[in-house]
Amino acid sequence: MWRRLREAARRAKRNPLTVVGLLMVALVIVLAIFAPWIAPHPRDIQVVHPNDLFRPPSLEHLFGTDEMGRDILSRVIFGTRISLRIGTLVVVLALAIGLPLGIIAGTFGGLLDEILMRVTDIFLSFPPLLLAMAISAALGPRLENAMIAIAIAWWPWYARLIRSEAVSIRERAYVEAARAVGTSWPRILLRHVLPNCLAPVIVQASMDFGSVILTSASLSFLGLGAQPPTPEWGLMITVGRTFFLTHWWIVTFPGLAILLAVLAFNLTGDGLREILDPKAKRW
């Protein structure tokens, strides 16, 4: 165990970008957990200050204030909570649908597998943002609906990924051996197939964390996700778009937060792939 961890750390060190990504993810998590203590004006999530509208960045308000006089830095910090919640819920929901379907279809094959492949084909016929957009437009503009919509657009990717892993694991000698000694199918799925297809799933999930944050910000920008006064980054940019030519700080900082958060998860996912999948060492 220790040797594997040391080996992983050694490989991570060779790629400085991975370390940067991991540190950024850690920062996002710390900000989210301690937001009320770190944010300089935690009450600005709700409270407006009619006398402090459009203040440019200063020592008092490092990121300036918005059109309601609220401290943008504090809102960006609280935004980490929302983005992390969206990322976690969507990825967990998509995995909850995709993982069991993929593993069963991949292991048993047959008609079930054929049906799953055709159904996922249909979902994959949409660019994910388009499908998420159409679904959340049908469900109505709320953050919860946007999350459900993104998860519905996302599960087929997991189902396909896990299925292809399960198909290759099905043929392995240890599965044959388990079957020969009469191990029950649920046990084979849980003890043999599932653990061995987790590595690529973890890599994909951490990459998707970034894509999901970006997608939900895009939905909010279109008016389909979070609603005011939620401190959601995409929504902050939507509201600020009216003023950005005269008050640059209103959109610049929330956008930077989106970019850095997405970047953090993508770099981490990339690095994890190198660590967990030594075959793809070059990446």
């Binding site: 949409f126 437009a137 895009s218 950005f244 956008g255 970047l263």
Partner: protein, 338 residues
């Protein structure tokens, strides 16, 4: 080959059928009152009742689906609540401007991304490689709508290098009115030798096209790099090197040929993605295309228009993927025989 083509065609048809089922579900089944949605937020009770009968909501669901598909095939995609025009006609009006924008964006993306990917693979592990990797990951992580505003702010307003929005200058539109042949100002200007308009149109398309280019740029750089690195490990490359072939020739003749497939795939994929990205950025640039139409439809809950755009984009995406797969199978026997 024929069996591959038949299978691929059948799968695409199945996908289109599925797309129509999803669109039907979203318009007719999920909304609590489709008639309400159909008529928009300001309808009277009588209008909604009439819509219910017009939409056939009193009939069984399979019959409703049949009528829905039949309507689409006849070209009856509903009437937009905002523009009061048939949705299909609206799409025809707005699509050319978007396609022009996306194609220019993809040209920029591939012109930068392909050389960068090659360079990155050739110098694997160096600081050039790390920098291009960071650029490609950033390209994929950038919120396009935010980049659009930053470009407008810095290059447009502060430095005054590019116009903030629109397709043409207002005076240009009056002085050198472009003739509409294809709907693309660039192509039309070239055909009619209208050079002032060409210059001005290029000027205007620069910022939105660069914004759209970032995603395909990141993706293509990355894909070219991985493909080349994979190929460079093959035995025939070692043979070529061992027989004293120059490295540049190995790259250009043997390795790059394998990158054609991935480039085509990424082209089809990102064309579809870019169509959706236009929803986010066209309004910002006042670009009169499909994206601005879609964004406006979403804000005003213009259901027929939203579904029309969704179906059009999904169908384009399916068909492009089909074409790319067929072209690849035609070029590469390994695909059609497997």
């Amino acid at each position: 080959m024929i069996s591959y083509v038949t299978r691929r065609l059948a799968l695409s048809l199945l996908s289109l059928l599925g797309v129509s089922i999803i669109a039907f579900t979203l318009t007719r089944v999920i909304p609590s009152d489709p008639a309400d949605m159909w008529m928009g937020p300001h309808a009277t009770v009588e209008q909604i009742e009439r819509a219910r009968i017009e939409l056939g909501l009193d009939k069984p669901i399979p019959v409703q689906y049949g009528l829905y598909v039949a309507g689409f095939l006849r070209g009856d995609w509903g009437t937009s609540i905002v523009t009061k025009q048939p949705v299909l006609r609206d799409l025809g009006t707005y699509l050319p401007a978007s396609i022009e924008l996306i194609l220019v964006g993809m040209i920029i993306a591939f012109a930068v991304g392909i050389p960068l990917g090659i360079l990155s693979a050739a110098k694997c592990g160096t600081s050039i490689d790390h920098a291009s990797r960071l650029l490609s990951i950033t390209g994929v992580a950038l919120p396009s709508f935010w980049l659009a505003m930053l470009l407008q702010l810095v290059l447009g307003k502060m430095l005054g290098l590019f116009p903030l929005s629109g397709r043409l200058d207002f005076t240009m539109e009056i002085l050198h009115a472009p003739h509409r042949l294809t709907g693309s100002y660039l192509v039309d200007a070239v055909f009619t030798a209208n050079w002032p308009v060409l210059r001005d149109a290029l000027w205007h398309i620069a910022l939105p096209a660069v914004t759209l280019a970032m995603y395909p740029l990141g993706l293509s750089t990355r894909l070219i790099r991985t493909t080349l690195l994979e190929v460079l490990g093959e035995d025939y490359i070692r043979t070529a090197r061992a027989s004293g072939m120059r490295e540049s020739k190995v790259l250009a003749v043997y390795a790059l040929r394998n990158a054609v497939g991935p480039v085509l795939t990424v082209g089809a994929l990102t064309f579809g993605y870019s169509l959706v990205s236009t929803f986010l950025i066209e309004s910002l640039f006042a670009w009169p295309g499909l994206g601005r139409y879609a964004a406006k439809a979403i804000v005003s809950v213009d259901y027929p228009a939203i579904m029309g755009v969704t179906l059009l984009v999904a169908a384009t995406y399916v068909i492009l993927n089909l074409v790319v797969d067929l072209v690849q199978a035609f070029m590469d026997p390994r695909i059609r025989l497997s």
